[in-house]
């Protein structure tokens, strides 16, 4: 059976994008090359909650690196218990997206990193100057910015964003079972996963979810691969509120962009429930069931759903080991010192 499956996949391969393994390194822009000290600085900033209004929310709060790079919530909870409108995308392999956010409003990881800091339902800082003033107030950060960036004003929001982006480019998961299979280890996938891989190709999922990150064709940095979701009508539209918000239209004000979204990576999709831009679909099984009529005008059998889900599970991990950073201290005082009277 496995041989037959492989044979079939071989025959299909001219019809679909070739199966590609995830590179061992993420691409990076010419003006932000990686470096150990920069990555370490970015890691500290990523985990530091002091740059939120309440001192409680860091990048890692909603993009939990101990888990799927998200927060397991329908929509994220930021400062003061406020929630936003969209489901947190995973930070794992975000480096392989050509644009960031569901609506692609940031062209780079560097641009993306600045957004949540000042979103009132996320980190809730009044402005980026206020955030960088806190960074500047922490001697252990100042010395790192000086060492990494130098120049007249090393502690800047642009440099902070560069450091965070450099760290995020290390948050990649090559060598999943799928990658090992593509690289020649025929035992890396189960029979069911191979059937699911075949279904994934035959059904046409791979038309959009292609390439090494399963997020579309290779695009120039800053140019997004956007698709209407849902493309076709179905009862799911009402059931899950799939057209309740405008998608990329909110960015461009172009009617052609209404309900369009960046095609998200399927890497580690098994760890990022609940699903879709609004987080309304609770399980991966149901997400696969929703996608078929919505995008491909097809209905899947339970077996097809189970097979595709099994294949998607082959896109999980492995995750790089991370040490917990020590956050630079301000001995004898706090930087984040929000007013915090007890709740009545």
């Amino acid at each position: 059976m496995r041989h037959l499956t492989i044979l079939l996949l071989g025959l299909l391969s001219p019809l679909v994008a070739a199966w590609e393994a995830l590179p061992e390194q993420a691409p990076y822009p010419a003006d932000n090359p990686p470096g150990a000290a920069k990555i370490e600085l970015g890691k500290q900033l990523f985990f530091d909650p002091r740059f939120s209004a309440t001192g409680t929310v860091s990048c890692n709060s909603c993009h939990n690196l101990m888990a799927g790079g998200d927060d397991s919530r329908q929509t994220s909870m930021g400062v003061h218990g406020l929630t936003g409108p969209r489901n947190a995308p995973t930070v794992w392999n975000a480096a392989f997206h050509s644009v960031q956010f569901w609506d692609g409003r940031a062209k780079t990881l560097e641009d993306q990193a600045k957004g949540p800091v000042v979103a009132h339902v996320e980190m809730g800082m009044s402005d980026l100057d206020a955030a960088i003033a806190r960074v500047r107030d922490i001697p252990g950060y100042v010395s790192q910015f000086e060492a990494v960036f130098g120049g007249e004003q090393p502690v800047s929001i642009d440099n902070a964003a560069k450091a965070v982006a450099a760290f995020e480019r290390t948050l990649i998961t090559p060598n999943s079972p799928y990658d090992r299979y593509v690289n020649g280890d025929q035992s890396a996938l189960s029979e069911q996963q191979l059937r699911g891989m075949q279904s994934f190709a035959e059904l046409g999922c791979v038309a959009c979810h292609r390439g090494p990150a399963f997020n579309g064709p290779l695009m120039p940095g800053g140019v997004g691969f956007f698709i209407s979701f849902p493309f076709h009508d179905s009862p799911y539209v009402e059931q899950y509120g799939l057209r309740d918000e405008p998608g990329r239209f909110a960015v461009t004000q172009d009617e052609a962009d209404r309900h369009k979204y960046r095609v998200p990576t399927l890497r580690n999709i098994a760890l990022t429930a609940p699903y879709f831009h609004n987080g309304r679909v609770k399980t991966l099984d149901e997400a696969v069931r929703v996608m078929a009529p919505s995008q491909l005008h097809k209905q899947l059998s339970d077996t097809q759903v189970a097979d595709v889900v099994a294949f998607l599970n082959a896109l999980t991990g492995p995750f790089p080991a991370l040490t917990l950073p020590r956050l630079p201290p301000t001995p004898g005082r706090s930087v984040a010192d929000p007013e915090s009277p007890a709740t009545p």
Copy 2:
């Protein structure tokens, strides 16, 4: 000068508790011996936000191990942005306290670990059964509980608390500059720190803040060392609301316990601003200034304050290196799946 200081300390030593270094291992109860697998399990539970009502709050949220084992806030912020009445005590070296919480209402780390899970302003679970039901729903936890605890019902709140407590007993910071000095390295403290050490003894701070953790005499487990705070009147009482809540009276209903608190450890005190049970005092300098009239009926000169603060800085770290745990997944679904409509 340094020799003179050491000589003076030598002369003083009969009057005060001998200076003691922190042990390399924390004590543990007979029914919860440490073990690598148990500690690893406890670490995962400590960092896992899925056992809070919103899926956003873990032990580490308010006891941040990347920092001072606290949250830099006046009082902590739990689920839905709710805040409690007291400042989060550090988890670093909590293992050396004979009772837990400011009011000593938990006799052990094991008992303490269960409290915040069901506190409505902290993790906000409806009850401990609901929390352990979530643990039981995660296969990667079930297998670890089985391997570590065995028995009929290995996944229990008592066993979860044991695992967390076993992990917390590894969160200790021996070998600070102070410890190295006490162990014979005469270069470990600066001249100012030595002056501060002398002032700390002469002023009488050490009467309460003694022993290796600077939290009082060695007490049997479960028996607290409680002191009235403030002991004497001063303008600080009103300025910082020092008598605005009843302290241990709330636990015992005994008038003798009104405004009494467990003597907190001074280990890593430089990293745990703001200060005192209500977190109203923002800096360590001011905390030292408040303590002198409040507890010792003395006024300190600016030099004495600076010297004592310099000494207290010698009680910081070093912190054990920690790897970020991977949290056991539930592929294709979430365990914590709170309703989370967007904030209007």
